[in-house]
């Protein structure tokens, strides 16, 4: 029997199709994302997994000619409904990008940026910054230099800062778009450990082109190919007993 928390998905897409003009990004994707689970989206480059991820918090809105059909439900609300404010939505669905992208500001100001814009109480911000940095396993390394530039940090530290910055908004979902692709193996493994602790509090969706990473960090895996979802299921099952031949070929390195 499934645990009770998993009965209602925090986020789901129902027959989601994203087109750029006439070009199809992803087609007819239905996936459910549950609390306290890490879902990995895998597949070869250009298969649409990043496009799909960016449609979950409406980051695709900035691309001209983008056309969305189907539904994305967050806590039961259709996020593409005209009554939805995308800025408010993104405060609940945080995002970590491929390349660490700290603002050229101090470490403190980086994390405080979102909460200040969202009018969090000023008095709680210092505590919030400490909590976020602790959760991102960065506090001990930066606590004495909070007011120095974030660009003085190493790539791995910058990426953990970006995670701290995202969780300072107290989101319920964290979207991660190949968060380790610009990092060395040691920094990568720190981020992977971090994902394991973060999943207790957040619904995590991670795009990765690294299959070992998907196997290590995720509970559920969805395999994309040419804009379509080939299959999704428990990570263990996908990696050991894939149902589809394409999945097996990809996982065994026959293409991709």
């Amino acid at each position: 029997m499934l645990p009770v928390t998993n009965v209602f998905p925090k986020l789901l897409t129902d027959k989601l199709t994203v087109k750029y003009g006439e070009k199809v990004g992803v087609e007819n994707i239905s996936i459910k994302f549950f609390d306290s689970k890490v879902t990995a989206l895998i597949g070869p480059s250009g298969c649409g997994k990043s496009t799909y991820l960016r449609s979950l918090n409406r980051m695709n809105d900035f691309i001209p000619n983008v056309k969305i059909t189907g539904k994305v439900l967050f806590s039961g609300q259709d996020i593409y409904d005209s009554s939805i404010d995308p800025a408010l939505l993104r405060r609940h669905i945080g995002m970590v990008f491929q390349k660490p992208n700290p603002f050229p500001k101090t470490i403190f100001e980086n994390i405080a940026w979102g909460p200040k814009r969202a009018k969090f109480a000023k008095t709680e911000i210092p505590q919030l910054i400490e909590d976020s940095l602790r959760q991102a396993a960065l506090w001990d390394e930066v606590k004495d230099r909070l007011h120095t530039s974030a660009l003085g940090l190493s790539g791995g530290q910058q990426q953990r800062l970006c995670i701290a910055r995202a969780i300072a908004m107290r989101p319920s979902v964290l979207l991660m778009d190949e968060p380790c692709s610009a990092l060395d193996p040691i920094a990568t493994s720190r981020i992977e450990d971090l994902i394991q602790t973060l999943k207790e509090k957040y619904t995590i969706v991670i795009v990765t082109h690294n299959m070992q990473q998907a196997a290590r960090v995720s509970d559920i895996t969805a395999f994309f190919l040419n804009g379509k979802l080939v299959e999704s299921g428990e990570t263990k099952q996908i990696f050991t007993l894939p149902k589809e031949i394409e999945t097996e070929n990809y996982l065994t390195g026959k293409f991709g």
Binding site: G94, P102, F103, P104, W113
Partner: protein
Amino acid sequence: MKGLENTQSFALKRSLSSPSNSLSENIFKGLLYVATSVSVVTTIGIVVVLLSEAIQFFKEISFVEFFTGTQWTPLIEPKHFGILPLVCGTLLVGVGASLIAVPVGVASALFLSEYVRGSLRTILKSTLEVLAGIPTVVYGYLAITFVTPQLQQFIPNLEVFNALSAAIVVGIMIIPTISSVSQDAFEAVPRELRDAAYGLGGRKHQVAMTVVFPAALSGFVASVILGFSRAIGETMAVTLAAGSTPKLSFNPLQSIQTMTSYIVQVSLGDTPAGTIEYRSIFVVGLTLFSMTLISNLIAQWFSRRFQERYL
């Protein structure tokens, strides 16, 4: 050598049929060198002429009188050579023009870089750049025939020639400079920073003001200094609009004289070469040159000091 008998032979030596090194390369390099030298030599030449005339000038007029004197009357007796009234008039127009052009220029730059895209952006940007192509003399008579009469309806004691109208038209004139340089700086801010800000739930105006603008601060400062330098160096429009009455006053409703207008006044008159009046225009030119140079240095210092570095 043993073992290398089968080595294929390649033509690697220089020869007349392939004069890779010397002639063509040197001619090309020489042309580039000459082209570069033209502007360097010209700059040096101008500074030398300005300085040598200035030295002659300062043999007759003391530094103290020149830099602290409050009257500028080189063409009428008794002659006074205090530069302050001209500096004052120049700054009045330069600062006034910047007060108009900086907010408008930055606002339009932000609008163009953050709010519109595609063909609308191109159309608006090129329209703005047409503004930069209007001859400055046109702005001058625009001031006299349109701006001043309109202003006089609200400000009855506005003189026919006045610093206010000059500042307004020069301000309009330098909007494209400020806007276009700032826009380039805003657009150069990496998309990743905008992604980060929008991903945190930032709204457009918040992203524009607290991420894009600070990241492009040095480009913005450069645009302001460039605009300001253009404003204080502007001649035709201010000569027409502001008149030629050197006055140590910050009242923009009166006629004033800027450094450039004074130079025009003397150059157009029949002042004989070698006289003190004649030499005074070189000293005024040198002063103006120094002001522009100093503002450029301040801009460089400022952008080094406050620049937020990109990724």
